[in-house]
């Protein structure tokens, strides 16, 4: 057995333009139902990865800041202890996983998630018949009453393990994941290389290298969730003095 991996992601906010490519890539990869107008109005639209936009300042010195937010795969995940049926837990590769078979839909986890990245299926998903052709066979279509969230595209990791390690006898790492199109869908899509994914236990991986950038910080770090997603600060030469570090 290979040494233990810990999957992590680095998000460089200075590269992100807010273009939404990751959001739709995720939608396509993970069989997320179409967010219809009524879903927006009833506040039930699902985006496993979303881009939050934060306004700063007033006209004309106004700034829009973008931050992609997805499941942070916390080491001390607040969603895990509140689940009465152990539907969400931490696996040995550092992933916070959601087991659809176990989930009974109490929604405690979503309530307890400080990042608001868990989404509940209030309805069975619906697609016109022809769109079923394009659903990803590697990902479960979640039915009504089930909680869902970002999985770091675990189906791709598993396929990579089966194919690269099992069949070809290779190693699953940054390079082989990239070469085989096994990177999470959002990472693959990003046109500015904002997102980096990989094994943070491997000091030579891209994700480890970028995580050592002095701009690194973790979202809501003070509450002690210890996320696996590491952000790199946005750079703004006009930022007020007190925010400078």
């Amino acid at each position: 057995m290979a040494e233990t991996k810990k999957w992590a992601m680095v998000i460089d906010l200075d590269r992100c333009t807010g273009c939404q490519a990751c959001v739709v890539a995720c939608q396509a990869e993970n069989n997320i139902p179409i967010n219809e107008e009524k879903d927006f109005l009833s506040r039930r639209a699902k985006q496993w990865i979303r881009i939050d936009r934060v306004w700063e300042g007033t006209w004309p010195n106004v700034k829009a800041r973008f931050i992609p937010v997805l499941c942070q795969h916390c080491e001390n995940a607040p969603c895990e202890p509140v689940c009465p049926v152990y539907a969400t837990y931490h696996n040995s590769q550092g992933l916070n996983v959601q087991v659809y078979n176990r989930c009974v839909g109490t929604r405690y986890c979503a309530n307890n998630c400080p990042y608001q990245v868990r989404f509940f299926n209030f309805h069975d998903p619906e697609w016109p018949d022809t769109f079923w052709n394009q659903l990803n066979p590697d990902v479960t279509v979640r039915s009504r009453g089930i909680m869902e969230k970002c999985t770091f595209c675990i189906q791709r990791i598993r396929r990579a393990e089966r194919t690269i390690e099992g069949r070809d006898g290779g190693k699953v790492n940054d390079q082989s994941l990239k070469a085989g199109n096994y990177m999470p869908a959002c990472v693959n899509a990003c046109p500015t290389n904002t997102l980096t994914f990989g094994d943070i236990n491997d000091p030579n991986s891209d994700v480890s290298r970028r995580a050592r950038d002095p701009r690194h910080y973790k979202l809501l770090d003070h509450i002690g969730t210890s996320p696996s997603v590491i952000y790199l600060k946005k750079v703004d030469p006009n930022a007020p003095e007190e925010e400078a570090h």
Binding site: D14, R15, E37, F40, R43, V117, A189, P191
Partner: protein
Amino acid sequence: MKISRRNFLRLASFSTLGAVACNFFDEREFISQSPVQLPEDLVTGRDNWYATLCRQCSEAEGLVVRIMEGRAKKVQGNPQYPTNLGGHSIRCEAGLQNLYHPDRISGPLLRQGARGTGLYSPISWDQALDLLRGHLQAQTDRSRVLTVTGPLRGSMAHLTSAFTDAYGARHMAFQPMEDAAYDQVMQDVLGQQTSPTFDFKNANYVLSFGADFLGTWKAPVQFSKGYGEFRQGLGRRNRGTLVQVDSWFSLTAANADTWVPINPGMEGMLALSIAQVIISEGLAPQDRINQLTGGQGSSALDAYAPNIIAQQLGVPPLHGTEPHEVIREMARGFARSGSRSIAIGGSGASAHTNGAFNLAAIFALNFLVGSVGAEGGVVLNPPAPVPELAKTISAASTGEWHRTVADISNGRTGVVMLRGVNPVNDLPGDIGLQQTLNRDDIFVATFSSFMDETAEMADLILPERTPMEDWGDDVPSPGPGFEVIGMQQPVVNPLPGMNPMGFADILLQLSREIGLDGATPLNMPTYHHLLQDQARKIQALERGSVQNANFNSFWNSLLQQGGWWDRDATADSDPSMPNLAEIASRASQPIITGRTDGNTFNLIPFQTVSLADGSGANLPWLQSSSDPLTTVAWTTWVEISTLVADAIGLKEGDFVRVEGANGRSFVAQIYHHPAVPPNVIGIPVGQGHTASLRYSKGRGENPLHLLGLPLEEQTQSLAWAGTRVRIVPTGESSPIPKFEGIVPAFVPNQEEAIVKVTRG
């Protein structure tokens, strides 16, 4: 009925069976289907990634498509393809939904009822093509046939123009919000037939006037790839600075280090002002200044000195700096980076009556710092290495369209063939194409996969193969600075029951039947053969990323890589310097037309990253994708400055009537926008479809219909940013569909900001 035990059991089983049949299972779960034919990719029994091209927008990114069991599952950027380097946009992703869209037209349709009523009956391809051929052959004056396509490049441009030339038809390309002014200025100022690209990766200072290059302008994925490196590239010494001059808060303005708001249409004058500072402060080499000004020095530009003109430009004080000082700082920053500075103009800057002047003044700045053709500057693109692929057909200007539509209404057109465009919806309403087509002496044929507004006016609808089912090639424009030819291959077969045909194959068949097939390319049996013929010419170059003496191996590698490119084959032209004094002499104020009474604003119709020009409005992924800045989806909204909205008493979600320059108006909802300048409102284009497509019908409005027909003076392109509209509250209100607020925002906390910022 007596409830005996037997009866009870019978009843129970009956009802449960009924329940099972009614709603418990999807029958498909219990079926394992044997398809009739064996798609090639099933043989390997794994998912396969096939390289092809995205045809959702003009950028034509290289893609790889994941195929499983003969169905396309996922689209990703082709990491090898030199323009997009593995990145892709929302629109590429959504191309998949074109393929499996429930509203796709399955076979040729012939009009039954009156035009526009949507009554069609299916006919066979033989009947359909006989009919079309009959109409083409019946024309004694062959210039009475008008062929309309989108802008074309590569073999499709070669083939279509060969067909229209051989037949004698007129050919026009249509693109919503065309940018004829830009193409003209590239010729006038840079001396280029090809669109240049910008080396953001190595640039230090980017000064963009209106060009929303991170959003929808030209090739946003290619530019975004460079932008990422521009900000935080590995091994860069310092982070690049982006200054966006924009009359509206575009996505690029949102990402800029400094956004300089400006009165609409004044971008060119600001560029002259910057040039004046650079020249008068001696920030550029003197010989270059002499060349550019014809030895006049700054005197030709002194009328544009910042302190004279700042007021007129409408630049507000920024971070406590006076407007004229803001301009000086821009000029110094731009000049300091020397040849690693880029000045770009586009989108709003070109969409004014003085658009060509604006762009000329802006692009001339690059000569001042010597960044044309330099590393980290404006990179010129070579023409395609094979002459047959070098042909491009750019969109006709809106003025030209106006004349053409007048021609049609004068009865000087007998047959109109439209392929892959929707001008009935996308041309400004004042041109009146829809009314013009509504006459009996015209035969209208559309090549379209969907029943859009243009198809609804057609006599004959010929469903085209979607890009993922068809062959093609492309010479990207803008290219990456060297020769690239992209290959598009069918990655899946059409679904059972779908019976589309490729446009190129139809043209070739018509050529054979009409007898136009005397020479290449019209004598090719299929488009596939034509592409192979072109590939042989690429093979004969014996250079570049794919080389092989055996043609079959060459062809296979070409498809596998998604194209051919040669990084060493760069442009060798050395454009002559424009004359700044001459450009300054053409300086003019934009003519803003429209309403002047009441609450009037300058209307900026903009393209969002999802719907862009609206050609994909029927795709649910695009509709449901929230706009990056407002997070609104599924509808049209009016972006209005929070300050102004508060003053008028408009709240978010309030319906207002937007009254245009031409008496047209529509009702849309307000979005409170903290960053829109007070004199401007922004309304996204792309919605307002009336055709019966389930995801787009009756959603929102098309602001292009409010414009009237303002045209750029030199090139007659649509001056879409130069109209004033009036806003009248209707008193009605309802929540606006947006993502913002669905997820409760993080608790604002001074110590723990969500987006942390550092100064360097």
